[in-house]
């Protein structure tokens, strides 16, 4: 989960690919959201003040529903149209990674048992959070909730982030939203991060433009995928001792992962790097190049009015949410659906390439020296 150091690499080589803005600037956009990732986030982050998950009277966890409900409403209130994409079957190659995660959870459970009686609350919570995973029922709950809210979702045949990217590439939505940098390997025109974070965190949305990122790194799609594999993806191990900087250098030097592997194999004495045994890097690459997705042209989705009675039945009667809050949420959904979409000036006016005047240049030099903000600099 998460390609290590990729963020930094892109920021360094193609700062222009990054844009930060507030949620409200996304108005009118449709976005595909990696739902599985969201649910996990909500289970971790949506907590009571004592750090416990939200539950209903029967002790069933409801953190994921609370997160899904309120944060989706926040998007709709900003006139954003979300589509949620759920994970399908994991690819076979992901087995290793999933096993690792399972082991980690078992380990955490053991630790938790050990310290349960005499550990501090913070410690217990720390291990408890490591145990979190979104169960099948929780996924189903979330789908049911979305349906009642009138928000479309689709089940990806395989990886959700690949499907999000496909939807964005096919023009069905503006961007793919996921925290996972892996998503970039599937070529979404834009990747949004921090979209479903809590408002209270005041985290700006990061938008990464794929083509600008590639231009900055000066890499082809294949090279970029190879880079991600070197940095560590979900599908296979990495070469020990290769971090972001070396990985970038190696790709630049050799041109592709095959060449790197060849080079290491042929010159074992010239390099300190050792390849993992039976390294399935090529299979991993194929998963990125040809992911199992439903074609964007084959799906369609509609945002419809929420089913208020259904929401009350499900959220209030079964899950113990407050009726008033669910009702007011449903009102907001209705309102968000109705108001027309604000147009943008883009497309009406063309951008004139800027001729740099001498005093511009001078200021630019200054800005290079102080590596602070990207867009505006005070001298």
């Amino acid at each position: 989960m998460g390609v290590k150091g990729l963020n930094q690499l892109i920021k360094e080589h193609s700062p222009g690919a990054y844009r930060e803005f507030q949620l409200k600037n996304l108005f009118g956009r449709k976005v595909a959201i990696d739902a599985s990732m969201c649910l996990y986030q909500f289970l971790i982050a949506v907590r009571q003040s004592d750090g416990q998950q939200l539950t209903n009277e029967d002790g069933e966890t409801t953190s994921h529903l609370s997160g899904m409900f309120y944060r989706t409403i926040r998007l709709v209130e900003h006139n954003i149209k979300p589509v949620f994409v759920f994970d399908g079957k994991p690819p076979v190659l992901k087995g290793g990674e999933l096993e690792k995660r399972l082991l980690k959870r078992e380990e955490a459970q053991k630790q938790l048992d050990l310290i349960k009686d005499d550990g501090t609350v913070a410690d217990v919570l720390k291990y408890e959070k490591r145990l979190v995973r979104a169960s099948r029922e929780q996924n189903e709950d979330a789908k049911k909730l979305l349906k009642l809210m009138g928000i479309p979702y689709i089940n990806a045949p395989c990886e959700a982030e690949a499907q999000c990217a496909e939807l964005a590439r096919g023009g069905k939505v503006f961007a793919a939203a996921s925290e996972d940098m892996d998503t970039l390997c599937y070529e979404p025109p834009y990747l949004l991060r921090h979209l479903t974070f809590a408002e209270a965190r005041k985290m700006p949305i990061d938008q990464i433009a794929y083509s600008d990122a590639m231009a900055g790194l000066d890499m082809t799609k294949e090279q970029f995928i190879d880079l991600c594999i070197l940095l560590g993806c979900d599908y296979c191990e990495t070469i020990k001792g290769v971090g972001p900087v070396t990985a970038y250098k190696l790709i630049k030097q050799h041109g592709s992962l095959d060449k790197i592997v060849e080079f290491i194999k042929e010159n074992p004495d010239k390099t300190k790097y050792k390849l993992p045994e039976n390294w399935p890097y090529d299979e991993a690459r194929q998963l990125f190049l040809n992911p199992e997705v439903t074609k964007a042209s084959d799906v369609s989705f509609k945002w419809v009015e929420p089913d208020v009675d259904g929401l009350i039945e499900f959220m209030v009667r079964q899950k113990g949410f407050s009726e008033d809050r669910i009702r007011s949420g449903a009102e907001k959904l209705k309102k968000g659906l109705k108001s027309g979409v604000q147009g943008r000036l883009d497309g009406f006016f063309s951008v004139v390439p800027k001729a740099a005047s001498p005093n511009d240049k001078k200021r630019k030099d200054d800005s290079k020296n102080s590596k602070s903000n990207k867009k505006t600099k005070r001298k």
């Binding site: 409200k24 309102k335 108001s339 027309g340 604000q342 147009g343 000036l345 006016f349 505006t376 001298k379």
Partner: protein, 259 residues
Amino acid sequence: MLEGKFDEATLLKKIVDSIKDCVKLCNFNCTEHGITVQAVDDSRVLLVSLLVGQTAFSEYRCDRDITLGIDLDSFSKIIKCGNNEDYLTILAEDSPDNVMTIFEDKKKERVSEYSLKLMNIDSEFLKIDDMEYDTVITMPSSEFAKIVRDLKNLSESLNIIVTKDSVKFSSEGESGSGSVVLKPYTDMDKPDESVNVHLDNPVDLTFGLKYLSDIIKATSLSGTITIKLADKTPALFEYKLDVGGYLRFYLAPKFDEDE
């Protein structure tokens, strides 16, 4: 070197106050003909285009074209330091790091000077072609401001429908709806009070009231506003400066999504 002297500080004060709520940072491009500003708000819905012509200054000289990257929040604080009737002079070097603002009291021998650090603002410059509009409305700016303020209480959107003999502004909200209908009207004594409608094609457009209420902050700059509308095209709201120049706003309309 740039040196521009206004007879009264109030003009620049009004200009900055008109645009500082929709664009925070903007480049003031100074040439021998005057000062221009073009800036787009963060959400890329509203574009501000300002021209303060040479004639708006009592004294003006600009030897080389320069760009002043200004943080309007800070600039407006400086401009508030002067009295409305003061002389106001803007001074900058040829490749400036900061811009000087000098206020001179006309009666007392009081001179105040403020320096503002400039910023490097990386903004795109948009080319605005002359567009053909379906409708051109000229009306008292205060009348338009009142309509926007009144209807903003009801809804987030303002619908403008122009037909052969009337202009209808209307809003529909949860609590109710409202509309204002204006008909062409000529006031011989006070031409500013006239409502003029030039119509080639009828239009029916909807705009976000949030943006319109930013636009009407420029009301004090001019007695009249000219509104140019065309179907599915950004509307142009123009306030002409009596002394030479204009403040224009281009606003993208709202669409009903058809799918």
